[in-house]
C-alpha cells in the first residue's frame, strides 16, 4: 500500500522544514556572526592606532632625534633612532634569512625528494615556526650577546631565526608548483642540476618566493620579544648595525606603553602607527607581487 502512495507522490525537493531548517539558519547566522566578531577588535584597534597616532606623527617625529625622556611631550626630539634601527635590523635579518631559507627549500624540493632527512627537515622547520619569539631572543643572548655584546646584528640573528622556517615553508610550496616539464626540458639541453635550479626553477617560482619572503619580513618587523635582550633599548641613533646597543620601533612602543605620562603614550601611539603602516605596506606589496608575478599558483 505504501508503495502505491510513493509512486503517486511527487518527490519533495523543497528545503527541509521546521526545526531542521531553523537549525540550519541559526548555524549559518552563527558563522556570519563569527566573522563579524573578528571584525570588531580589528576595526577597534586600527581606528585607535590611526586616531591617536595621526596627531603625533610629523616629519620631525619620524626624523628627529634623540628620543626624549618619558616625561617630555611628543613634540620634543623624534623617533629617528628607532626608525633607523628597525630598517637596519629588519634589512639585515632579511639578507641573512631569505637566501638561506630559499636554499633550504631548494634542498627539500630539488635534492631531498622523499628521503628521510628531507622529511625530517621539513617537519622540524614547521615545528620551528612554533618556537616562541622570546625563546629566540634568549637563544641569541646565550650564544652571541654574552660573547660579543649587544648589537643590531644580534637582533638581526634573532629575527632571522624567526623568518627562516617561514621562508623555507613558503618557498618550498612555490617550488613544488613548478612543473617538472620545465626541469626535464632543461636537463635535455644538457644543463647541470645547479643550473637547472638557478636559471629555470627559481625564476619560474620567483613571484611566490618574493611574496612569501615579504610576509616573513612583515612578521619580523613587528617583533619585539627577540630584540629585548639582543639590541637593548637606547635613545640615540646608532648607525653601525654591527656593534653597540641600538633600538627599534617595537622596543620603543614596549618601553612607552606602560608609562603614565601622556608624552610617552603619545610617542607609543605614533610609533605604533608607523610600525603598523610598515607592516601593512609590506603585506600589500606581497599581495601585489603574487598577483603580478606568480606564474604558477594553486
Amino acid at each position: 500500500m505504501t508503495a502505491v502512495t510513493a509512486e503517486t507522490q511527487q518527490p519533495d525537493l523543497q528545503e527541509a522544514k521546521g526545526w531542521r531548517r531553523t537549525k540550519n539558519r541559526i548555524m549559518t547566522t552563527l558563522m556570519i556572526i563569527s566573522f563579524v566578531v573578528v571584525l570588531i577588535p580589528l576595526a577597534f584597534v586600527l581606528f585607535t592606532v590611526i586616531a591617536k597616532g595621526a596627531s603625533v606623527i610629523s616629519w620631525q617625529f619620524l626624523t628627529g632625534q634623540p628620543i626624549p625622556p618619558i616625561t617630555l611631550p611628543a613634540n620634543v626630539g623624534g623617533m629617528w633612532p628607532a626608525v633607523l634601527g628597525t630598517i637596519e635590523i629588519t634589512a639585515l635579518a632579511t639578507v641573512i634569512a631569505v637566501p638561506l631559507g630559499i636554499l633550504g627549500a631548494v634542498y627539500l624540493n630539488e635534492y631531498g625528494g622523499r628521503n628521510w632527512l628531507a622529511a625530517l627537515i621539513s617537519f622540524m622547520s614547521d615545528v620551528m615556526t612554533g618556537v616562541p619569539s622570546i625563546v629566540m631572543g634568549l637563544f641569541i643572548f646565550s650564544i652571541w650577546v654574552l660573547h660579543f655584546g649587544f648589537s643590531g646584528l644580534a637582533g638581526a640573528f634573532a629575527l632571522g631565526c624567526l623568518m627562516l622556517p617561514i621562508v623555507i615553508r613558503s618557498s618550498y610550496e612555490m617550488l613544488r608548483l613548478v612543473p617538472n616539464s620545465l626541469r626535464e626540458g632543461s636537463y635535455a639541453l644538457g644543463a647541470t642540476k645547479a643550473r637547472v635550479t638557478v636559471t629555470v626553477v627559481l625564476p619560474a617560482a620567483i613571484g611566490g618566493i618574493v611574496s612569501g619572503a615579504l610576509l616573513a619580513v612583515a612578521r619580523a618587523a613587528g617583533e619585539t620579544a627577540p630584540l629585548l635582550f639582543t639590541i637593548l633599548t637606547v635613545t640615540t641613533a646608532n648607525p653601525n648595525v654591527f656593534s653597540g646597543a641600538t633600538t627599534s620601533l617595537p622596543s620603543q612602543i614596549f618601553a612607552n606603553a606602560n608609562q603614565p605620562y601622556t608624552g610617552a603614550q603619545d610617542r607609543g601611539w605614533g610609533s605604533a602607527l608607523t610600525l603598523v603602516a610598515i607592516c601593512f605596506i609590506l603585506m600589500i606589496v606581497a599581495r601585489l607581487v603574487t598577483a603580478r608575478f606568480a606564474r604558477y599558483s594553486r
Partner: protein, 326 residues
Amino acid sequence: VSTITQVDPAAPAGSTHPLQQRRPLGDRTFAIIALASGLLVLVILVLIAVTTSQQASSWFSAEGWKIFTNNWNPAANQFGALSFIYGTAITSLIAIIMAVPVSIGIALLLTEVVPYRWSRPIVYVVDLLAVVPSVVWGLWGILVFAPWLNHIYAHIGSAVTGIPVLGNLFGPPTSGASFFTAGIILAFMITPIVTSLSREVIATVPAIDKEGAYALGATRWEMITGAVWPHSQGGVVGAVLLGLGRAMGETIAVALVIGSSPTITSHLFAPGYNMAAVIANQFGEASGTFRAALMGIGVLLFVFTIIINVIARGIVERSARRKRGA
C-alpha cells in the same frame, strides 16, 4: 619558456661520454650549500636547546624539583616557577576557548557558505589580525581595551558575588589588567592561524561526500556535521593545538596586559603572570641565579611548545596523508 634559452648548451660538453662524466665542481658545491641550509634548521633547534639549558643549569641544580613550587621571590633567592606555568596554562586555555569556535565558524563560512569571490577578501581581513604586531595589541590592550573591560568586569563581578563557582571565577576585578584580558587579546592573535589551518583541512573534504549528503536531503548544517566534520575533525584538532602553542609563546602583548603579579588564583579577573611575560619584563635587570631561573623558564616554555607543535604537526600531517591515500 624564454628562460630555458638562457642555459648555455655548451657548458657541460667536452666529454665523449657525457652521462658518465663526474658532476662538475660547481654543481656539487651548490648541492652541498643547499643541504647545509636545510640542516641549519636542525642545527638551530639543537643549539637553542643546548645553549639555553647551559645558561639555566644553575637554576635547575640549585632548586631541583622546587622549580615547580609557587614561591617566586628574587630578593630572597626563591625561584619557584609554578605561578608562571599556571598563568600560561590559564591564559592560553581562555584564548583557545574563545578563538576556536569563532575560527571554525569562519573556516566553515569560507569553505561551505560564501561564493569563491567573497572568500578571498574575508581571508585578507582575517589575516590582517596577524599582521598587527604583538606590541601594538599590547599598547591598545593596556591603554584602551583593559580600562574599558574593567567596567564590564565590575558589572559581571557584582552580579556573580555569592554564587558558588561563578563567584570564585568572576569576582570583582582589581584592574583591567588580568588573566582574562590577556586571554582575550591572545584569542584575537591566534584566530588567523587557527582559521587558516582549519580552512585548509576542511577544504580537503571530497566534494562527492558533500554532494552525497545533499542528495540524501541534508540541510547545509546536517551536511557539515555528517560529511565535513567526521572527515576533518583530526586536522582541526591539530590546528587547535598549533593555536595553543602560539598562545603559550606570545610574549609582548601578554606582558603588557596580564598585570604582572605572580599569583595562583581561580579568580580570572585578577592580575597574574605567565612564563613569556616574566622573561620579557624581568630578564633585563636579572643576574646570577635570577637570570638562570628566567632562562630556565624559557627552556621549559621551549620544551612545552616543541612538544605541542610536534604533536599538532604530526596530527595535521597524518590527516593530510590519509586524505591523499584515500
